[in-house]
Symmetry: C2
Subunit: 349 residues, 2 copies
């Protein structure tokens, strides 16, 4: 059993708990800190979108289509489906000469009341552009078009079926994931992700290694190291695109800029690169709950990243969020468990 | 650490797990089955609304106001805030000579997209009637008015502040909870619930005892046994009121009628009465996740309630729900863990 990483309190009583595991690895692959089982393969889900976006830069598609920071950022995003997200993903497809019909991620209604309210007031129907993965998929389509042009194929026709594991686009994406995590995906457990692409089971230790490489460029060819840096910087410059209103990744990266690249995944996964420390982080909450993953990630950022006083104060909104009830009364909160709080990141800095 | 009660699968791989504990007790208070720690106090939250509604019948308010089955059912409910729920809770308040202004549960926007869509299309603002607890609070107001009339007070004035632990209404509600669970609430951990009333920490074993008493009437004065039966039957006759469209409690009780009274609580709690077996059930998922609590409760119903073939087949939608992604592709599902599946309820029947 993994240790408790996060406590949920009501009054002064622990009401619920979230157990889990995490690994922190440096650019040489050395394990800097960990708790729990970091060798069992876990599905990283959307936490690895930056790794899946590497071919977007490496293939030359980003340069040829003159993709902006906002467009590169949304290629790494799980966004709220707000109007800016929908427009940005559509803009990428148009640059590639296609439209929303090329997306194979499926239709997702946004989950936020404020976004739904806006859509209903405009009598707007949800489509694949509202899917939280539409930017990643728009990036996939851009790479597929690049591959088509290189091979003399018709882009629209070549792109079709890009979500299948055996499509040339998805083989490129899988190769980037395999190389950065040092994992043989042919031997990994495989499932189908929410957006219909394959998701592979990879140990937290290997995921942390990949994010240490994204942080440092160590262990990557120069073109890949450069692509990783460009994607990290794009997200730091356009953090709204990676999530949206009220989202942990958007708010933390708006606060800390290039010093933290963090990305949530479904079912309680979080990955992060800490470039100043040269570290990669990967964690999973056993029960899949996002609230636990966010508090654990915030606690790890507090333990390992050098923060100013104001930044440290601001981070408590994420590492120790307050729970209020329907009358606005404070009824409890979340906090990192003892095992996480005892971590001291100073040895790693 | 409590055992794993529910596995979440993606493909054939366990992606996430939910650990927890449960107790099943008979009308004599004997423990029939359990897993995990059933002595630690847990906050039962909304799972005990039927116990909190006992004074509504016992006080004579239900008879004097000629409350219908739908009205008694919504007093035990955590509803979706659908138009029928809003109208029913308002109707109870009007019978008592008051209106929505008497409710102190706070405003809650419904969480379901279909309900929100309807509200937005009608340009309807959320208010306390939309709060999932508005029926319980309408019942509280009815009892408070009954107490006011008995004491010669002005109902509207007397009712004010009914959510406070020291208000005569809340003392009645607390007394019913203490007596049915054999718990000294003065020594119990206390927190504030989502709707601002106190919630007390009570062991699962004691909660299961209370629901066995609701199932059998054993250990209750005749008036209380009769009130419990009347509330159970009201919910069985008007199951939409206890939850609403697409809700576990509504659908399971519509399927099984009076043979199961079950009620969800926030943070992964479930309680149930199984009248045919004379049993009470109480469970909590450690991480507070409702999906885990639902699957565990469905598995316990399958293990302990006599089901026909069609009913058993229909219950698999709840005990082994399928997960589909945004393209409608089946990507996994939930299932009871080995510890739950090995239970054999036949010894208790």
């Amino acid at each position: 059993m993994n240790p408790i990483l996060v406590d949920v309190l009501r009054g002064s009583t622990v009401e619920s708990t979230h157990s889990g595991a995490f690994a922190i690895v440096d650019g040489d692959g050395a394990l800097v800190a960990s708790l729990g089982d970091i060798q069992r393969p876990i599905f990283p889900r959307s936490a690895i979108k930056v790794l899946q976006a590497l071919p977007l830069v490496e293939s030359g598609a980003a340069d040829r289509l003159q993709l902006t920071d906002a467009e590169l950022a949304i290629a790494c995003a799980s966004h709220n489906g707000e109007p800016e997200h929908v427009a940005t993903a559509l803009g990428m497809l148009k640059k590639a000469g296609l439209d929303a019909g090329a997306l194979e991620c499926g239709t997702q209604w946004p989950g936020r009341e404020s976004v739904l309210r806006g859509m209903f007031s405009r009598q707007e129907q949800a489509g694949p552009l509202h899917n939280n993965c539409s930017g990643k998929h728009a990036g996939f389509v851009c790479v597929a078009c690049q591959l088509a042009l290189a091979g003399g194929s018709d882009p629209a026709e070549f792109t079709r079926g890009y979500i299948r594991a055996e499509h040339p686009l998805m083989r490129e994406v899988g190769a980037a994931l395999a190389a950065t995590t040092d994992t043989d995906l042919a031997k990994a457990p495989v499932g189908t992700d929410g957006c219909s692409i394959p998701t592979y089971g990879i140990p937290l230790r290997q995921l942390a290694l990949a994010f240490a490489r994204v942080a440092t460029g160590q262990g990557l060819a120069p073109e890949r190291a450069s692509a990783a840096r460009r994607l990290r910087q794009a997200v730091a410059r356009a953090p709204f695109m990676v999530g949206g209103t009220g989202r942990f990744d958007t708010d933390v990266m708006a606060l800390l800029g290039e010093r933290v690249f963090c990305k949530v995944g479904a079912e309680g996964v979080y990955c992060a690169s800490l470039p100043e420390q040269g570290l990669g982080v990967a964690l999973k909450i056993d029960d899949g709950n996002a609230r636990g993953a966010e508090v654990a990630m915030a606690a790890l950022i507090e333990a390992f990243v050098r923060l100013g006083d104001a930044e440290r104060q601001a981070m408590t909104d994420f590492s120790a969020p307050v729970l209020k009830n329907w009358n606005g009364i404070e009824v409890g909160g979340l906090r990192a468990g003892a095992a996480l709080l005892s971590l001291n990141g100073s040895t790693a800095q």
